[in-house]
């Protein structure tokens, strides 16, 4: 069950809309906190709080450069979430693949009916 808990933790961290916004911004490359504060229009303490949560689940990395703290995205940590959604997506893909067959048959029947009219 350890795996499920890890996934849930990371998922909860990432599910928050503001934190998703931060991840979107970091997807474009490494950024200092000030950048994020300006782009998000939030107060610095709020941004720092979100960054702390993301760091705790390993979704972002931080490094010091001079007086700046630079944040970047940690792709592999986000993979469990990606997988989580993917497995659900696969369920629907399989379900709809089966639906395709039903539709093929309905389409053929409809054509037959038209020929008979």
């Amino acid at each position: 069950m350890a795996r499920a808990a890890t996934t849930a933790d990371a998922f909860n961290a990432v599910a928050e809309p503001r934190r998703r916004q931060i991840l979107d911004l970091l997807a474009g490359g490494e950024r200092p906190v000030n950048d994020l504060v300006r782009l998000l229009g939030l107060a610095q303490p709020q941004v720092s709080k979100h960054l702390r949560v993301l760091r705790e689940v390993g979704a972002v990395d931080v490094r010091e450069e001079g007086r700046q703290r630079l944040y970047s995205l940690n792709g592999p940590a986000l993979k469990p979430i990606h997988d989580w959604v993917k497995a659900y997506e696969r369920l629907w893909t399989e379900r709809f693949d089966a639906l395709d067959l039903v539709l093929d048959e309905l389409g053929r029947k409809e054509e037959d009916d038209e020929h008979h009219e």
Binding site: A4, T7, A8, F11, N12, A15, E16, P17, P76, K79, D83, W84, V85, K86, A87, Y88, E89, R90, L91, W92, T93, E94, R95, F96, D97, A98, L99, D100, L101, V102, L103, D104, L106, G107, E110
Partner: protein, 165 residues
């Protein structure tokens, strides 16, 4: 017409309480709607090739109930039911969805499914919006895709190949 063409369903999480599933079909929308609402047809696809349908009941009217049950290949029974809230033939279906393996939700706390059928050039885009009462319920539903042992195995294999790269 090819019967093996496999298009992926796309799943996104537009908000903390929602799941959005989209898929296009090579068929006009009145056929997709039929396949979605006639019990003999639902019986042929809803199982996702993961088991056998045992119950498909559809009372297609506002206030009418539906119930689907299947026995998965692993032996476990899975059942859902709900009530139709809005029906626009060939266009839109809104229904509640209740998973019978969990405690019954309080009134107003049900999951609401909205299926929309949109046709362009003889093809149909099906959009299924799953609106949940909370993020926890949403996450649980997404996690249900993981229940299948085979899928878990495939995921592990997936992870392994990424590690090996």
């Amino acid at each position: 017409m090819s019967t093996t063409s496999s298009h992926s369903a796309t799943v996104t999480l537009p908000s903390d309480e929602e799941i959005l599933i989209t898929r296009e079909f090579d068929a006009p929308k009145h056929l997709v709607y039929r396949a979605y609402t006639e019990p003999e047809l639902v019986r042929q696809w809803w199982h996702a090739r993961r088991g056998t349908m045992t119950v498909v009941e559809i009372d297609l009217r506002v206030g009418g109930d539906w119930r689907y049950a299947m026995v998965a290949d692993g032996g476990q029974e899975v059942a859902f039911h709900g009530t139709y809230r809005e029906i626009v033939p060939d266009e839109r279906l809104v229904t509640t969805e209740i998973f019978e393996g969990a405690p019954a939700p309080e009134p107003g706390q049900e999951v609401i499914d909205t299926a929309t059928f949109a046709e362009v050039d003889g093809r149909t885009r099906l959009t299924l919006l799953v609106a949940c009462p909370s993020r926890e319920v949403r996450d649980m539903i997404v996690a249900s895709g993981m229940e299948d042992g085979l899928q878990d195995a495939l995921d592990l294999l997936d992870e392994l190949t990424v590690t090996l790269r």
